[in-house]
């Protein structure tokens, strides 16, 4: 790094320009990562916090994929799963979107219908009848506290408790009893009609999921895989991840392009050093070390800026998640991909002919 350090100090303008580009890309990637995680949480936290490891959907048609929006399961399907060997828990879960009104305030909410007293029910045994449990955001948006009454999909209900801050498909969750959920869900009802949207399962290694699916006429996936069955999450997350991927690729290309030009500019110096006896390995280490220093410094500053902006906006209504996973992982990927781009560029050092250092040599 003897020459590399001095190059960094000597060509300050060029390296500062490149460093600024890295800072800006890192800032953008950091903000996008936090936003992606925040939006993802607003889409999925009600599902990811369920005490279940698998979700059983009504079997979709030929070539179809499970969907929370389209799935409806019957009581018979639920009981079939409950009887299945190796299943330690099977709970029906109804999901519907509803309008909640409290005085002059109203909000769109996701009504999650569960059996009162079951493992899925929040707030202990306070659910049931007209008693519902609000998530913190629903309570805040509607200006409600425990004991207050409001209207949910045309039914007057009472707030039994405010618990957690679960979201589903960008709407806060209101937990209701399964009976109330059936009443406020137009497609649910009737003796043989749908009982719930899905079945939340706790399985063991003894569970033959395929056989149980065939017996119940369901399609079962893991809880995390079921997130792609939330339509808004699949499209939104896919778009944001694509943008993030492009930013990573752009970063690697920009760093690679910079070091390609830089290496070409230095090819005369490299030829001299080789003619003087410098090994190619030493020159490659120096060049790569220089790239990593630039990347690390740029990424560190960019990540710091992203964390600062994230901390600022996450106190507002912006769905931004500031965790080591959303801050440090993108930074590490930026450095790794940038170093890869630089490595591909500086490898041209191996092809520099030391003979060119002798001015008039052929």
């Amino acid at each position: 790094m003897f020459v590399a350090w001095r190059d960094l100090k000597f060509a300050k303008g060029r390296f500062a320009l490149m460093g600024t580009v890295i800072v800006l890309i890192t800032l953008l990637v950091g903000l996008l990562s936090g936003l992606t995680a925040g939006l993802g949480r607003q889409n999925t936290s009600a599902i990811t916090s369920l005490p279940a490891d698998r979700i059983a959907f009504a079997a979709p048609g030929e070539g179809g994929e499970p969907s929370y929006a389209d799935s409806t399961v019957t009581e018979e399907q639920w009981r079939s799963w409950a009887r299945a060997p190796g299943v330690s828990g099977a709970e029906p879960l109804g999901i519907t979107t509803a309008k909640a009104t409290a005085g002059n305030r109203s909000a769109g909410v996701s009504a999650f219908g569960v059996r009162p007293g079951s493992a899925l029910a929040p707030g202990g045994g306070r659910l049931g009848g007209d008693a519902v449990v609000l998530s913190a955001t629903a309570a805040h948006d509607l200006g409600l506290t425990a004991g207050d009454a409001f209207v949910l999909a045309g039914r007057r209900v009472t707030v039994a408790a405010v618990s957690g801050d679960a979201f589903f498909s960008h709407t806060p969750v209101v937990w209701t009893g399964l009976g109330l959920w059936r009443e406020i869900t137009p497609s649910a009802g009737g003796a043989d009609g749908p009982t719930a949207t899905v079945i939340a399962l706790r399985t063991t290694s003894a569970t033959d999921v395929g056989a149980a699916d065939r017996a119940a006429g369901t399609r079962t996936v893991s809880r995390d895989e079921s997130l792609s069955a939330i339509g808004s999450y699949a499209s939104e997350n896919g778009s944001l991840q694509l943008m993030r991927g492009f930013l990573f690729a752009i970063s690697a290309l920009v760093v690679g392009a910079f070091f390609t030009v830089w290496t070409i500019q230095r090819s005369g110096d490299i030829a001299v050093l080789k003619a003087l006896g410098a090994s190619t390995a030493t020159l490659l280490k120096d060049a790569l070390g220089q790239a990593v220093v630039l990347l690390a410094a740029g990424t560190l500053i960019g990540t710091g800026c992203a964390a600062a902006v994230g901390a600022l906006v996450s106190g507002m209504d912006v769905p931004f998640v500031l965790t080591p996973a959303t801050v440090l992982v993108p930074a590490a990927v930026m450095i790794a991909l940038g170093a890869l781009g630089a490595a591909l560029s500086v490898r041209r050092i191996t092809s520099v002919d030391p003979l060119t250092a002798l001015g008039s040599a052929r």
Binding site: F10, V272, L273, A275, A278, A357, L358, A361
Partner: protein, 232 residues
């Protein structure tokens, strides 16, 4: 300490045929002596220097540096031989723009795997020997052409080589500075006891050489006795 080229032949592709750059060249240069090789452009001077510097492997013949024959050596071994046994003074000073004069010399220690900081004393001694101790912290753009060439010479001597190869060192200098540079090379050759080969197209500065060999069409003609140039 010596350099021996024995029956060296080198050709380059030239369309459908091959052009002979060196034709059975043999040259013995003992330590502490300066051999100047003169000849017109295209006569094979730079090819001779490139072969002696182990930058080109000849088709035929051997190159021996301080008793080590280079035939069959790998690139890595040749690079090690260059950094430890051969000093090269380039036609253009070819100094690294980001390094000061002292650092231009210290980098030689770095590429040899030694601490550049530990080599500062040796670098200062050599800069003193070429009259640039006061300018040790200047970068190339802050030095004149002659000063840059003297840094170039000091750098070539940094790893205490047994062979010093000098490529047209006066081409960018006026007569007075050119003569001063060649005199400096001759003085350092004797002080460091290097086997020095200096190639040039210009005979004007060669009074300090121990002997002057002439190259033409790849064939080297060497005067019978060493010391001829100084005596004449």
């Amino acid at each position: 300490m010596s350099l021996h080229l024995t029956d060296v032949t080198l050709t380059y592709p030239d369309g459908g045929s091959r052009l002979t750059a060196l034709d059975g060249v043999s040259l013995d240069v003992p330590g502490g002596s300066l051999t100047a090789v003169v000849g017109p452009s295209g006569s094979g001077k730079s090819s001779l220097l490139a072969v002696a510097a182990t930058l080109i492997t000849p088709e035929r013949g051997t190159v021996t540096v301080d008793g080590i024959t280079t035939t069959g050596m790998t690139r890595a071994e040749l690079a090690e031989l260059r950094r430890r046994g051969i000093g090269i003074v380039f036609q253009q000073p070819s100094l690294l723009p980001s390094l000061t004069a002292a650092e231009q010399l210290q980098v030689m220690a770095r590429i040899d795997g030694r601490s550049p900081a530990g080599a500062r004393g040796r670098a200062m001694d050599l800069l003193d020997a070429v009259g640039l101790a006061d300018l040790a912290d200047r970068r190339p753009h802050q030095l004149s052409g002659g000063q840059r060439q003297r840094v170039n010479i000091a750098r070539a001597l940094m790893n205490d080589p047994t062979v010093l190869l000098v490529d047209e060192p006066t081409s960018a200098l006026d007569h007075e500075r050119g003569t001063a540079v060649v005199d400096l090379i001759a003085r350092l050759t004797r002080r460091q006891a290097t086997a020095t080969v200096l190639v040039t197209h210009d005979r004007a500065h060669l009074t300090a050489a121990d002997r002057i060999a002439e190259i033409r069409d790849g064939r080297l003609r060497i005067p019978a006795a060493a010391g001829q140039a100084r005596a004449s």
